[in-house]
């Protein structure tokens, strides 16, 4: 059965999406324009690509930005209800189905809100629809459009005459383009947006009714599991066929290049099959020792980018009064989703459907087509929520696994990764080394800031044409996107600070145009991308958390070197009003006591307490946060216990204060886990942190000593909306590190701040 948008539209009153069919794309393709992605058959410039009003007045909105627990289902539904002036219960949001929703690329980088809530895309579509409906009503009622009011999907003239949306457009297409001039409702008019609407999925979640991709069942579905190599770089050498003979329920062992998987009637049989199969693997390529890995990173050939260079840093550093140097290190960390990644694929001879928790439905469709040898139009990817991903977890790779296994057996196959396969082969958050050099002038101001980072990288998001960027593609014979060593070009154009490689305190001047947020004129930022032995990919605040850890701790070191207060010293070097505002707000809310750090007269035993601060403009322009951390340090054990976090947040107009609070709270605690315990480990052959015993995370027993949290919302309604899901987490490691310094005088330059490391540093102090 085929589902076209037209069929969908007809049925959208009952809001049933058929999961059994594949839509073959309409035979035309148009450039995606605003999405900066590949052409698709759903033209984002037309209103019907975004919205449909059914005969009963219900509204179906189609979005290319999906909800994976961060709240985009609720806020996007609010947005549509607000702009269309209909009750929120009348809006149904369809997320990321390549056959029926516009291609908005990947849901990532805190870009969903800026993309869909400002002056284009979903927001503009809904505003266009309201304007179009009012104009239709004006014609129908014979009244001027500006004399009409709208409430609850009913348009009313001053005379009292009324017409409903359903009467005007029910089950019909608008057949108009998105209007750039359609008036948006302003925050002062909002009655749905900006309100703490409880998340729309909560009742289903709490009562165990919510359908995750893990819960999907398709008629005739089999169960697959993959067999990943035993070592990094191992290749397939052979299968002992006899080992497969006695496995009950085994349907097929699938070997394609170095990809090995099994398909069985039942999930438990697939698990058993993986255990019993005897597969021979060639030895791996070996791994650099973990103990010296950060040094190793700095010695590799690299692809270099010079983000800013005032050309005088060498000379300034050579002649400066006081020069400080420090090297920071950040480990590989995992997404570590609670549920291992899962997908269901139904591949037939000429078409395929994949139900996937990917953040990248459209790109995944292209990769699946490539892996299966099908035209892209013959593949449909339907987003179904998985376990929280925090970036590129295993959702993409397992979708490829399911597609390959389903094609091999000609039946629908569900694949869920084992815990070990998930953790040993996911695309980790990058390990980084960040080297800082700065000089202070005789007045106590920063004269020069010189920063270099080394970022371990391999693969990443597969995008539309790089299957080898994740493990399944690699095993199938595709190479990861290569890192070609390159000397940097001179910086040109606008300052680019997507990864927060440029500290907030430099002026960021390129050819006289200063795009930075700080005052330091003598500046250089050089970034080296280095080949990683492990796959890497975006993990909540990718490279931003690493860079900001180094910048904000080093800023603390600089302020300590001149006995300045860390807040005052930051303010002295900032010129961005919004960053200054969050910094002041966090400090004021925390009743920050202005003083140099560290505290004088450290205790030698017992518990000491300290405060630390850090701030960020996420990606240079996508949200502001400042955080004050209060931590206690047990001097005997080295254990760090955060007691309180005070955070100030500015993300422009707030779509949903409760959703934002949830993101900030979760981000702070996740950041705390990453600051204190999380680190990928390996031996000379393989990743050794491949379950929850070996990869440490904070658990819910954190509740015993849960820190308190206080949030100051700077709800700015006069600026565009920015992302907010990654700002708070970004500043956690630095704020905690600075608090430890304040309490003890020890400066920890390597994450995580485990009790063992703290104790060692205290002993050496």
């Amino acid at each position: 059965m085929s589902v076209s948008r037209r069929d969908f539209l007809k049925r959208s009153g009952t809001l049933i999406v058929s999961f059994s069919g594949v839509s073959i794309a309409e035979p035309f393709a148009v450039a995606q324009g605003p999405f900066d992605t590949h052409p698709s058959h759903i033209d984002p410039s037309t209103l019907d690509s975004w919205l449909a009003v059914a005969a009963d007045g219900s509204v179906t909105a189609f979005t290319g930005k999906c909800d994976f627990g961060q709240g985009m289902l609720t806020t996007q539904t609010q947005l549509v209800a607000e702009e269309l002036c209909v009750p929120i219960g009348r809006v149904k949001l369809v997320q990321c189905d390549t056959s029926i929703s516009p291609d908005q690329g990947t849901t990532s980088g805190s870009q969903s809100t800026p993309t869909n809530f400002n002056s284009a895309n979903l927001a503009q579509a809904a505003a266009t629809a309201r304007e179009a409906l009012i104009n239709m009503a004006a014609r129908r009622l014979g009244e001027p459009a500006d004399q009409l009011g709208v409430t609850g999907g009913v348009i009313t003239a001053k005379t009292g005459r009324q017409v409903t949306y359903a009467e005007l457009i029910g089950n019909k297409r608008f057949n108009i383009l998105l209007s750039a001039t359609a008036k948006r409702r302003t925050p002062s008019q909002w009655s749905v947006l900006g309100k703490p609407i409880p998340s729309l999925d909560r009742v289903a979640l709490m009562t165990g009714q919510f359908e995750f991709v893990h819960n999907l069942g398709v008629p005739g579905m089999l169960h697959g599991r993959v067999v990943r190599p035993p070592e990094v770089g191992s290749t397939f050498a052979g299968l002992d066929e006899s080992s497969a003979r006695q496995i009950p329920g085994l349907v097929k062992v699938v070997v394609r290049n170095n990809f090995v998987g099994v398909v069985a009637e039942k999930q438990s049989q697939a698990v058993l099959a993986v255990r019993q199969l005897k597969i021979r693997w060639n030895a791996g390529t070996g791994l650099p020792p973990q103990s010296t890995f950060y040094d190793h990173l700095r010695k590799q050939p690299s692809r270099d980018v010079l983000l800013v260079d005032s050309k005088d840093v060498k000379q300034q550093l050579a002649t400066a009064h006081t020069v400080l140097r420090a090297t920071y290190a950040y480990p590989y960390q995992m997404h570590g989703s609670v549920g291992t990644s899962c997908a269901v694929a139904d591949v037939q001879a000429d078409r395929a459907t994949v139900w996937s928790a990917t953040q990248s439905a459209y790109p995944t469709r292209s990769i699946v087509a490539k892996l299966l040898g099908l035209p892209v139009e013959a593949v449909r990817v339907i987003y179904v929520r998985g376990s929280g991903c925090y970036g590129l977890n295993g959702a993409d790779t397992v979708s490829f696994d399911a597609a390959v296994l389903s094609q091999a057996v000609g039946r629908p196959v569900r694949v869920q990764l084992s815990r070990q396969d998930e953790m040993a082969w996911e695309n980790f958050g990058s390990a980084c080394v960040i080297e800082q050099r700065a000089a202070i002038d005789s007045s106590g101001a920063i004269l020069v800031w010189d920063c270099e980072n080394w970022v371990a990288s391999r693969g990443g998001r597969p995008g539309y044409d790089q299957p080898g960027n994740v493990v399944t593609g690699l095993l199938l014979g595709y190479a990861p996107e290569p890192i070609t060593p390159r000397v940097p070009a001179e910086p040109t154009g606008e300052l680019r600070n997507r990864e927060n490689a440029v500290p907030s305190y430099v002026s960021g001047c390129i050819n006289g145009k200063c795009g930075g947020t700080g005052t330091v004129r003598s500046e250089r930022v050089l970034s080296h991308t280095v080949q990683s032995p492990f796959f890497t990919g975006p993990l909540r605040s990718p490279l931003r958390i690493q860079n900001i850890f180094a910048h904000e701790c080093f800023m603390d070191e600089l302020s300590a070197s001149v006995q300045a207060d860390p807040v005052a010293f930051r303010l002295q070097h900032l010129r961005d009003a919004r960053l200054i505002a969050v910094l002041k707000s966090a400090a004021n809310t925390a009743r920050w006591e202005y003083r140099p750090s560290p505290k004088p007269g450290h205790a030698k035993s017992g518990t000491v307490t300290g405060f630390g601060i850090a701030c960020v403009v996420y990606e240079g322009d996508n949200g502001y946060a400042a955080l004050v951390a209060q931590v206690s340090v047990d001097l005997a054990s080295g254990r760090i216990l955060p007691k309180k976090f005070v955070v100030a947040s500015d993300c422009g107009p707030i779509s949903n204060p409760d959703g934002l609070r949830n993101q900030i709270e979760g981000g702070i605690l996740q950041g705390m886990s990453r600051s204190l315990v999380e680190e990928v480990t390996w031996d000379y052959k393989r990743v050794t942190s491949n379950d929850w015993e070996t990869y440490r995370s904070l658990y819910l027993d954190l509740a015993v000593e849960l820190p308190t949290i206080e949030i100051s919302f700077l709800n700015r309604t006069d600026v565009p909306a920015t992302g907010a899901g990654e700002t708070a987490i970004t500043v956690v490691p630095a704020a905690i590190g600075n608090a430890i310094f304040n309490a003890t005088g020890i400066r920890l330059r390597e994450v995580p701040f485990t009790a063992k490391r703290v104790k060692a540093a205290l002993s050496a102090f």
Partner: protein
Amino acid sequence: MSTISINVNGRLHTLELDPTTPLLFVLSDELGLRGPKFGCGMAQCGACTVILRDHVVRSCVMPVSAVGADEITTLEGLGTPEQPHPIQQAFIDEGAAQCGFCLSGVMLTAKAVLDEKPEASDQEIGEALGGVLCRCFAHFRMIRAIRKYADARKA
């Protein structure tokens, strides 16, 4: 293969099964239940939690043959969307989740400890949750919801 009868959420199911099959796979794949989920397969995270004989068990490591005649309660067995169990209602009221994948472990563990000891302190509740993992870190809301449920239960 054996014939095995299990009582889940008040309904008796008789199935032809390999008796070593983990209970989780029976609940999710044979009975189509959505509450208990596969997180690790090693009893390290709690996503597969169910209640059996008033105690929480990790259904990913329990063979179905070990269940016996006693009733298993899963998250969907506690209450319905129309009539949620009070602990579910407390979680709904507090919006105590992000992705929600971990909820079986969080809610059922908290319920079991409070059923056994209604006066349990925050410390005791926290310790009981020691093996439950929420990687979205929705802890603040979860703890608030559990406290609310515990207080209402006492009252």
